[in-house]
């Protein structure tokens, strides 16, 4: 397998070299089931505060699918909102009502780290813990290594299979996120030698969000999704600091023109009945949007702001529409898109089963392009199923959202950009 994989890599590189001289032929595919050059985890969630009834953490898994070492630059984006003033100033909030008369203001804070993966190596960590320790060979049994230890570190190296230099995880250090964290993670494959983006597709990932409840009737709730992958288009740009996604001179495939979401309409009194009509309860859907364009170098939180148009079809094939804005990060219940935040207005939302009259719908989400960039978004969907018993306040699921798009590769408005800044010099 390694020999043939190596031949494949040469074939890919040769194809990439051939494409440099010609026009970029970027597709508009994002992939959640294949390896890619950029992987995005739209939702990383942590609430690790002590003495809480509910705690949450995210297990992040990243793997190198190739038979060569891989390096990646990764960026956490913390998108928690904070109370701007008043008695709760500085506290994490979700809506203004959390701030006792003050405003709940969105925030956007980035921190980055490097990943070094050996060939075929998977790596995992808890977002609240990170990987900051070492696992030296003095620990004879690797199972005894600390949970926060980088596996191939402190002098421990990978087994050499088929020859070649010893491999380890290099300067990988993954700092833990804050004990209250909601946001995203982006990892971009870069050249091992000079940290510049590279036209290979070797990364894959998954995120598992685990919620525990410490009350007497509590329990555990888990949801899992695949990282969204953006594959290289094979045409490196002379400016390695700015990645071009789609459009002319694309280095990477474009983000989708349209996201297509199948979902239950928010129940608001309606129910989904299962088990031969013996079990019923409500369902609500959240969608998490992250912008495709981001400016990490200049910390511009609003660089990728987008306006989204929604076209909703119910099972009568009746059509409704609405729109909303995404500013740096948006995690919203469907019913809160066209109504005020909170549940008071949900029953009148066009995403409500009470309005639509059918249980499920199909929503097509289209970003409105700007004049110089596409302002597209990526998304995952989460469902909350009303629990029959217990105090979890609903079991959650997560899944990837499908996309549909023909793309005009020569239109500048089809490009998104990620400014990752110059190499860090590790």
């Amino acid at each position: 397998m390694s020999t043939k994989k190596g031949l494949r890599r040469w074939a890919v590189l040769a194809a990439a070299a051939g494409m440099i001289a010609g026009a970029a032929t970027a597709h508009a595919d994002v992939v959640a089931d294949q390896a890619a050059a950029i992987i995005i985890f739209p939702k990383i969630e942590v609430d690790a505060r002590a003495n809480q009834a509910v705690n949450i953490d995210t297990i992040i898994q990243v793997a190198n699918t190739s038979n060569s070492p891989v390096r990646a630059r990764c960026f956490y984006v913390r998108a928690n909102s904070f109370c701007a003033s008043g008695p709760n100033v500085g506290q994490v909030c979700t809506i203004d009502a959390d701030c006792a008369g003050s405003r709940c203001v969105a925030n956007w804070q980035e921190k980055d780290f490097q990943l070094f993966l050996t060939k075929r190596q998977p790596l995992s960590w808890r977002a609240s813990l990170g990987l900051t320790g070492q696992c030296p060979p003095t620990i004879a049994d690797p199972q005894e290594c600390p949970e926060d230890a980088v596996p191939l570190s402190g002098g421990r190296v990978a087994q050499n299979q088929g020859g070649g230099p010893a491999q380890d995880n290099g300067a990988t250090i993954i700092q833990p996120v804050e004990d209250q964290f909601v946001g995203e993670l982006k990892c971009i494959e870069v050249n091992s030698a000079d940290e510049t983006p590279i036209d290979l597709n070797d990364l894959k990932g998954e995120a598992t969000i685990v919620r525990t409840v410490t009350a007497v009737d509590g329990g555990v709730d888990v949801r899992k999704y695949n990282a969204i992958g953006i594959q290289s288009a094979g045409s490196p740009d002379p400016n390695p600091a700015i990645l071009t996604l789609g459009g002319p001179g694309a280095e990477y495939n474009a983000c989708p023109n349209v996201l297509v979401l199948d979902h239950f309409f928010d129940s608001n009194g309606g129910t989904v009945t299962t088990h031969a009509n013996t079990v019923n309860g409500g369902v609500a859907t959240n969608v998490v949007f992250v912008p495709c364009s981001e400016d990490f170098e200049h910390q511009n939180a609003h660089y990728g702001d987008a306006t989204l148009q929604f076209l909703i079809y119910n099972e009568f094939e009746q059509r409704f529409s609405t729109s909303t804005k995404v500013s740096c990060y948006r995690d919203t219940k469907l019913s809160d898109i066209d109504t005020r935040q909170g549940s008071a207005d949900d029953v009148t939302s066009i995403f409500s089963a009470a309005v639509q009259g059918t249980l499920t719908g199909q929503t097509r989400i289209r970003p409105v392009p700007g004049t110089s960039k596409a302002n597209k978004v990526l998304a995952i969907a989460e469902e909350t199923w009303e629990a029959q018993n217990g105090v979890l306040n609903g079991f959650k699921t997560a899944r990837n959202v499908q996309s549909y798009q023909p793309v005009n590769a020569t239109d500048p408005a089809q490009s998104d950009f990620i400014d990752i800044g110059p190499p860090l010099g590790f």
Binding site: M1, K4, K5, R8, A32, D33, Q34, A35, D57, Q61, A63, T65, T118, Q121, L123, S124, R126, L129, D141, Q143, E147, Q159, K204, E206, T208, V210, T214, G218, V220, D221, V222, V260, D262, T271, V272, T273, T274, H275, A276, V279, Y313, N314, E315, F316, G357, T358, L359, T360, Q362, E383, W385, A387, N389, F395, K396, T397, R399, N400, Q402, Y404
Partner: protein, 385 residues
């Protein structure tokens, strides 16, 4: 400490397994493509939807499960679908599977549905969905009924495939109209969902009567429908190891909060006309976070496979020392690569179960990633009179 378990037994190293394999059967030959990946996708629409895991459990336990199917037509044209349930339950459901003494049934039930332009639809497998014009506004089955969808019987476990067809109901056709999702929910309302795997049509789709040939590699290569992947990749948490989050938050007494992963695989090939299921043999390689590579027992997917990872490729009673288990793996997670050795390709999903020390549990399904393409599988639809 990464693990609170005892010292692992030494599993040994194995050489790197062979990659692409060429194989032929009496009916099909498979020529793996290394340069292109299969376009079997969970991210885009297609014309064949595969739901590998559909269940409706018997009993009143809180963990007894049912499945909700959602399918959408994303185009501005109507679409007719020919759907096939495959009942793959064991001859003796209470006993371990065995190819001779306890084989799986392979009983197909098919039906047709018709979706108007842009129409979404859904049904619950335990209930089906009748054609009922008196469905009241806001009711369970309110909306344009897509067709008479039969319920499955209690104890059903198997797959669902829906194929976009011509008006004769038997000839697969193109357009890439369809997308789908399945949500598996138990009586306690713990739910896990996954995207249906979509096989996209190529320019030659529909030229072979009632046979869908899965030979398209890459985009627009002149084939019929997307070839299945050569390799499936599963990134898994070591079987039976403690959930690190549950443990960290104090809900794991004595490290008794295991994570257990189930894998469900279906052969890409299926002959519904002659009732011949697919049969695929997979080679398996496991790589842990220390880049230690181990070979795992060969996996045979005979019509449908749904197995705990620690029982893959072995007799069900031999659960100890599984190469997938936390007692053997050196790291908390690992990657398993399932590569077809014979019989064509497979598609699949996985499901993790996380538990706390009181036995409460929750499940999360997720789609597998894939590499390479293996053209040559076929799906033969029933000919309608």
């Amino acid at each position: 400490m990464r693990f609170g378990l005892g010292k692992r037994r030494f599993a040994g190293l194995a050489a790197v397994l062979a990659g692409a394999l060429l194989s032929s059967t009496s009916q099909q030959s498979y020529a793996a493509s290394l340069d292109e990946s299969s376009r079997a996708t969970i991210d885009r629409t297609g014309d064949i939807l595969v739901f590998p895991k559909v269940v409706y459990d018997t009993g009143a336990a809180a963990t007894a499960r049912d499945t909700v199917i959602r399918i959408s037509n994303t185009f501005n044209h109507p679409a007719e679908l020919h759907c096939f349930y495959v009942d793959a339950r064991l001859a003796n459901p209470g006993q371990p599977p065995d190819p001779v003494f306890n084989p799986r049934r392979w009983q197909e039930t098919d039906f047709e549905i018709f979706l108007t332009a842009q129409q979404p639809t859904h049904w619950v497998v335990s209930q089906g969905r009748p054609v009922d014009p008196t469905d009241y506004f806001g009711g369970q089955n309110s909306g344009l009924d897509p067709g008479a969808i039969p319920p499955v019987t209690a104890g059903f476990e198997g797959e669902l495939r829906c194929i976009h067809v011509e008006s004769d109901g038997s000839t697969p056709t193109g357009g890439n109209y369809l997308k789908g999702e399945a949500t598996i929910v138990d009586r306690g309302r713990d739910a896990s969902d996954y995207n249906a795997i979509a096989l996209r049509s190529g320019s030659s789709a529909g030229n072979d009567g009632n046979i869908a040939i899965l030979d398209e590699v890459g985009d627009d290569s002149g084939g019929n429908f997307t070839a299945c992947p050569q390799t499936l990749i599963l990134d898994f948490i070591a079987f039976g190891g403690p959930d690190p989050v549950v443990r960290a938050f104090g809900q794991c007494t004595g490290d008794n909060c295991p994570v257990e992963t189930n894998l469900t695989l279906v052969p890409c090939s299926a002959d519904f006309e002659n009732l011949i299921p697919g049969n695929v043999t997979l080679n398996v390689a496991i790589i842990d976070e220390f880049e230690t590579m181990t070979s795992a027992p060969v996996v045979n997917v005979d019509c449908w496979l749904d197995s705990r990872l620690d029982r893959l490729g072995t007799l069900s009673t031999q659960q100890t020392n599984s190469v997938y288990s936390a007692s053997v793996l050196a790291s908390p997670t690992a990657v398993a690569r399932f590569t077809s050795a014979s019989g064509g390709g497979v598609l699949g999903v996985a499901e993790e179960t996380h538990k706390d020390s009181t036995g409460k549990q929750s499940r999360a399904a997720f789609n597998l990633q894939h590499e390479g393409a293996l053209p040559g599988d076929t799906i033969t639809l029933t000919l309608l009179p």
